[in-house]
């Protein structure tokens, strides 16, 4: 799934990945997990869904699949995927062709380009959300993940 550069040299934009520490990429069905002890620099691409618990720096391109950044994940990369979920920390731009979700434990600084964006209550986000390339959503289809308890109406 991943192209690896085992020389340990830092790749330049768009070049092959270099594995900083020994990689343990466990494949289970259609989902690949990058464990918490793994650091990867470079470009990740492929055709599986991906769960990242480790550190990735570079670019992640899985346009037809989902990318999930686990609570232990630390990403410094632009991410291109069908759907993206962030529970850990991510610094970069998120391009989701279907949906981007920042979970309550997620911390993101970057720009989001996606037709649907969900910020769960407690999520940290700083950046921009571009809602240009989407059909106009109706009220009924709007997704609200953090409906508050109504205390009083002022």
């Amino acid at each position: 799934m991943f192209e690896k550069n085992t020389t340990g040299t830092k790749p330049e934009g768009g070049k092959k990945a270099s594995v900083i520490s020994p990689a343990k990429i466990a494949k289970g069905g259609e989902t690949t997990t990058i464990g918490s002890s793994i650091n990867i620099k470079g470009e990740l691409s492929g055709g599986n869904d991906l769960i990242i618990q480790g550190k990735v720096e570079g670019t992640i391109k899985l346009q037809n699949n989902s990318v999930s950044v686990g609570e232990q994940g630390h990403i410094q990369a632009d991410v291109f995927a069908k759907s993206i979920t962030v529970q850990g920390e991510l610094y970069g731009d998120l391009h989701g062709t279907e949906k981007v979700t920042i979970s309550r434990s997620g911390r993101v600084k970057g720009n989001i380009i996606a037709p649907r964006v969900v910020l769960e209550d407690g999520a940290s986000f700083k950046g921009s959300i571009d809602m240009e390339n989407k059909p106009v959503a109706s009220n009924s289809s709007a997704e609200i993940e953090n409906t508050p308890k109504k205390a009083s109406i002022a």
Binding site: D121, P148, A151
Partner: protein, 203 residues
């Protein structure tokens, strides 16, 4: 400057739903056709993102209020503030804004800071752009700014951190006009919550 604001205390029990008729009026002017550029100075809230998803827009989430307050606190007495808001926010492409959501911060700034804040903010906005804000009219207010999110065009949910209350500056309209010379008041409504809701537009 911290990458992220400190995570808010949870659970929160100081939640309130407030009406916002002036905001509702403002939103009725928004069309589905035009693309808008909107800045939320507060921290990211899902309801606000969801609400603006019905428009073609680019929503900037600045999460900059703690930084502005820290800057104000760090200023030596009698030193005039010089707020570089764009640098403080640190986001690319932040210009020609159509709408700025300025929720609760004005209650926590002193008059000289509001003047420089207003000038700095105006530089990021297009002519005729709008600013929406709440001013506390009661004698006391929570010690820290609340976090607002839109429930619908006429209602917002406000979270305040539990804690002490402090005296409120209770800025009157004439004070705001003097401090915010780059803006004109468009709508102003006194709400049952004790907040005065304002929408401004850029001169």
């Amino acid at each position: 400057m911290a990458l992220f604001s400190p995570r808010a205390e949870e659970p929160r029990d100081n939640r309130q739903v407030v009406s916002c008729p002036a905001f509702s009026s403002l939103m009725q002017e928004f069309s589905d056709e035009q693309k808008y550029r909107i800045l939320d100075l507060g921290r990211a809230r899902g309801g606000t993102v969801t609400y603006f998803s019905r428009f073609r827009c680019k929503l900037f989430v600045a999460d900059v209020i703690p930084d502005i307050l820290s800057y104000q606190e760090s200023l030596p007495e009698d030193e005039p503030p010089e707020l570089m808001l764009q640098e403080m926010i640190g986001l690319d492409d932040l210009s020609e804004l159509d709408l700025v959501l300025c929720w609760d911060i004005l209650n926590y700034l002193d008059a000289p800071m509001i003047e420089t804040f207003s000038t700095s903010l105006r530089q990021l906005m297009r002519n005729g752009g709008h600013l929406h804000a709440f001013i506390n009219t009661r004698s006391e207010m929570p010690a820290f700014p609340g976090s607002y999110q839109i429930l619908d065009a006429g209602q917002m949910d406000v979270e305040h951190q539990a804690g002490n209350r402090i005296s409120a500056p209770r800025f009157a309209q004439r004070n705001l006009r003097e401090m915010m010379r780059e803006f004109e008041i468009k709508h102003s409504r006194l709400l049952q919550s004790g907040m005065q809701e304002y929408s401004f537009y850029c001169l």
